[in-house]
């Protein structure tokens, strides 16, 4: 039993990254033997807050105190020395090494300069037993499943006998049995006097496990307290909050009748996407909403063949003819704007002109059929620049020097040239200024007027509201709910925090 008292508090923590205030005077407190749930949407600041505790970032201002004494956490090794362990969502596994290597890579027991294998095994077995795992320390990391690998991450965290453990979405790769086991382990840790912070997007998990809750939004703590004071509704309400975004473009008219152009049936990708079924209508804006980790981007990538799928069929409907289409072929028919526009959308060192024309080069060929008609290209590019109001000093400006909003317009403009019937837009308005957001939304709106069908993903819920004809909500790789254009923020938020039981949508 751990008798020494442990209380950690963070006071007035401020952390800024270029362009965004991630944490705005955040106060946080936890003491031994308590499990605290930390809830927040993307960008709420919860990851940043935990990263500071984990030594990955340092706060700009504010103090961290352990038992009343001010401390600094320089790096992950330092955090570990101070008694803080961080179990990340993403596995940091050395796959070809053994379980005991993964656990003790920096803490090998040695005898005469050589690793003491038997002592190491004893240490590992003890910790594994503590978390209820019967894995053998000699087994290779790559031979065990992701659920077990996550267990080893936790085991590694326990090597330094931490007083505080931070869990970031620990159940994302676990089966139900493994989840129950994990909760048992965490409860036992609490008994042993360890403090636990538990970050999750599945609200149902925290009831029955956590003692306290803290809700964050936009870098601030919205509310915190005992779990009994926080029924589900209150948490959802705190998460959504009021928003003062005035310049919200809303759709003028909404599609009511069905004119299907795309159907997806039973799309599956083991571990990533489960039983996806959806349809897209002509001239429709279909919004896909969900928190980070819900699989939205994976869905789009799977549809166009950038990722493999295990089962499922896609049909495209053209002039009443329903035809099955392979993802790779669908890609040719879709204007695809990916989430990571800097790395996957743009050719950064190249000019605006090249970035605009790249998807449609065959239209600019001169008489030779091989060489590009520069003049034609220049004119078309100029037209697109004007139409989308892209702010550039010249066509040959390097695209990486453009602002985020203009960059996004370039990517959209690229597809406009090719004029496809379908558009899949993943976070098209993320990280761009308010005016540009409105402009992009207008462009999208105009596309629908000319009969194009849009699939749009956004994590900024306010931007989607009033803009989509229908909403699909995703969580953990499944579609959990579908709403008409009248959906409210609370409805969407709640659906994104629910799990989908097999066959039943909640």
């Amino acid at each position: 039993m751990n008798n020494s008292h442990f209380k950690l508090s963070m006071q007035n923590i401020v952390k800024e990254f270029p362009g965004v205030k991630a944490l705005d005077k955040v106060n946080f407190e936890i003491e031994q033997g308590k499990i605290m749930a930390l809830i927040g949407a993307n960008g709420a600041g919860k990851s940043t807050l935990m990263n500071i505790l984990g030594g990955i970032h340092q706060q700009d201002t504010g103090e961290i105190l352990i038992n009343g004494k001010i401390i600094t956490i320089k790096d992950p090794l330092d955090a570990s020395k101070k008694g803080i362990a961080f179990v990340h969502q993403e596995l940091t596994a050395l796959s070809k090494l053994r379980i005991m290597d993964n656990m003790l890579i920096n803490d090998y027991p040695t005898k005469l300069g050589l690793i003491d294998d038997s002592e190491a095994k004893v240490i590992c077995k003890k910790i594994l037993k503590r978390i209820g795992s019967d894995l053998a320390p000699e087994d290779l990391m790559e031979d065990i499943g992701p659920g077990d690998q996550q267990m080893i991450e936790i085991a590694r965290a326990l090597v330094h006998k931490p007083k505080l453990i931070l869990f970031d979405e620990p159940t994302s790769s676990l089966s139900k049995k493994e989840k129950d086991n994990l909760f048992k382990v965490i409860k036992k840790l609490r008994e042993d006097g360890v403090a636990v912070v538990y970050i999750t997007h599945l609200l149902d998990e925290i009831y029955g496990l956590c003692d306290e809750v803290m809700v964050m939004r936009n870098g601030r703590v919205v509310s915190s307290g005992l779990i009994d004071e926080f029924p589900k509704d209150r948490i959802i309400c705190d998460l959504s909050g009021e928003d003062g975004r005035k310049k919200n473009v809303t759709k003028k008219s909404f599609i009511v009748k069905d004119d299907v152009v795309l159907v997806v049936e039973d799309l599956n990708r083991s571990g990533i996407l489960h039983d996806i079924n959806l349809s897209l209508n002509k001239g429709e804006v279909l919004g896909i909403w969900g928190l980070m980790g819900s699989g939205r981007t994976e869905l789009v990538r799977a549809l166009v063949g950038l990722d493999p799928i295990e089962s499922g069929t896609i049909y495209s409907i053209c002039d009443g003819h329903k035809k099955q289409i392979a993802p790779h072929d669908l890609r040719q028919l879709v204007g695809l704007v990916t989430e990571d526009r800097r790395n996957e959308g743009l050719f950064q060192p190249m000019t605006v002109a090249i970035n605009l024309s790249i998807a449609n080069l065959k239209a600019f060929l001169g008489k030779s059929g091989v060489f590009i008609d520069r003049k034609k290209e220049k004119n078309e590019v100029e037209k697109t620049i004007k139409k989308l109001n892209i702010v550039v000093s010249s066509q040959s400006q390097q695209v990486r020097t453009l602002s985020g909003g203009n960059q996004q317009k370039v990517i959209l403009g690229r597809w406009l040239q090719r004029n496809p019937e379908l558009f899949f837009l993943d976070e098209p308005i993320k990280g761009i200024d308010v005016n540009a957001k409105a402009e992009v939304k207008n462009i999208i709106h105009e596309l629908t007027i000319s009969g194009k069908s849009i699939l749009i993903i956004s994590s900024e819920i306010e931007e989607l509201l009033g803009f989509c004809d229908r909403y699909l909500v995703m969580n953990r790789g499944s579609i959990t709910a579908e709403f008409p254009h009248t959906a409210t923020k609370e409805q969407l938020m709640e659906a994104s925090l629910s799990a989908r039981e097999k066959g039943i949508m909640q």
């Binding site: 959308g345 050719f347 060192p349 090249i354 080069l361 600019f364």
Partner: protein
């Protein structure tokens, strides 16, 4: 004390403008500056250096490396690498020589050499583009096989006694300029025009700049990669013709690893980054000229051949290190 790079007024977007401008113009000009300086210095000290004869000599010496550098530039620009290019050249040359010795008309033998080179390039390209293997491993193993086959076919000797008409035609001079030099010039200009102005060339640059974005933009990435390697092989075959004629023989020592280093550094020095997306075949040829110039000039001022090797080794590392530093700074 604010650093220069902290001054927001000197930024466009989020980039530090002064560094960028300097980098953009400076780097491209650096090799040329070095060459001009070196030539001037040496030209002043060594009487025979700047004669027409020596200049043509240098051009001629650099033509083999230059031709291969053109081929390699396609692979570099697409973001890959091909260490087998020299061994490819050697093997193709040997195949051609062997065929000529047993009576095949030289013209046909030339065609065979180009085809042989292309075939090897295609095997490389297939493994990289369609099997998804790492270019380094693929071309390294190909180098072994080609080198081994070269020794086997020649039984470690050189194949000589090639038809005179072959040697004389390839090595003929038009207005005092050797045909190989003219060929290299023509190819470098044509290849550059192709890369810069055709849609296929544009695709190659795109794939080399950002393969993910290229895929999403609908470019047939695998096909582009495949043909880049195939084309590199074709140029290896072309160089085989040149070298066999120049040496009037073919042997396994034609395609050693030293040559690969020369070719790769020619490309990099000429502005074709190993990381892809930039440079032109013409630049690679200029790079070849420079590399040859280094050897030639050191020779002229009496530097031992061995020291040349040492200098070359470190110069190449320096240039590529520089190249990396530039790319990293530009991301």
């Amino acid at each position: 004390m604010t650093k220069l790079s902290d001054r927001k007024d000197l930024h466009i977007g989020s980039k530090f403008i002064i560094k960028e401008e300097l980098v953009k113009h400076g780097i491209a000009a650096l090799p040329i500056i070095i060459v001009l300086l070196a030539s001037l210095i040496i030209g002043l000290r060594v009487p025979n250096f700047l004669t027409a004869r020596n200049v043509i000599n240098i051009l001629e010496q650099s033509s083999a490396i230059g031709l291969m550098a053109i081929g390699l530039s396609f692979v570099f620009i697409v973001g890959g690498m091909d260490i087998s290019i020299a061994a490819n050249m050697g093997l193709s040359g040997i195949v051609g020589a062997v065929l000529m010795r047993i009576g095949l008309p030289p013209a046909l033998a030339c065609v065979v050499m180009i085809l042989a080179g292309t075939l090897i390039g295609m095997i490389n390209g297939f493994a990289v583009a369609y099997l998804g293997m790492i270019p380094f491993v693929v071309t390294l193993s190909m180098m072994y096989v080609a080198a081994g086959a070269s020794v086997y076919l020649t039984e470690a000797t050189s194949i000589s006694g090639l038809p005179e008409i072959f040697v004389n035609t390839i090595m003929m001079r038009i207005w005092k300029i050797p045909l190989p030099v003219i060929v290299v010039v023509i190819f470098s200009i044509t290849a550059t025009k192709f890369m810069r102005s055709s849609y296929l060339g544009r695709w190659v640059y795109a794939v080399g700049t950002n393969i993910k974005a290229a895929e999403i933009a609908g470019i047939p990435v695998r096909g582009v990669k495949f043909w880049a390697y195939a084309l590199a092989g074709s140029f290896a075959g072309l160089t085989a013709i040149l070298n066999t004629a120049r040496l009037a023989s073919a042997s396994a020592t034609m395609g050693t690893s030293v040559i690969v280093l020369d070719v790769a550094s020619s490309a990099v020095v000429g502005g074709v980054s190993m990381y892809g997306g930039v440079g032109t075949p013409l630049g690679a040829v200029i790079g070849a000229l420079l590399i040859t110039l280094i050897s030639n000039s050191m020779n002229m001022i009496g530097v031992s051949y061995y020291l040349t090797l040492v200098v070359k080794g470190f110069v190449i590392i320096a240039f590529i290190g520089f190249d990396y530093w530039i790319r990293r700074g530009n991301e």
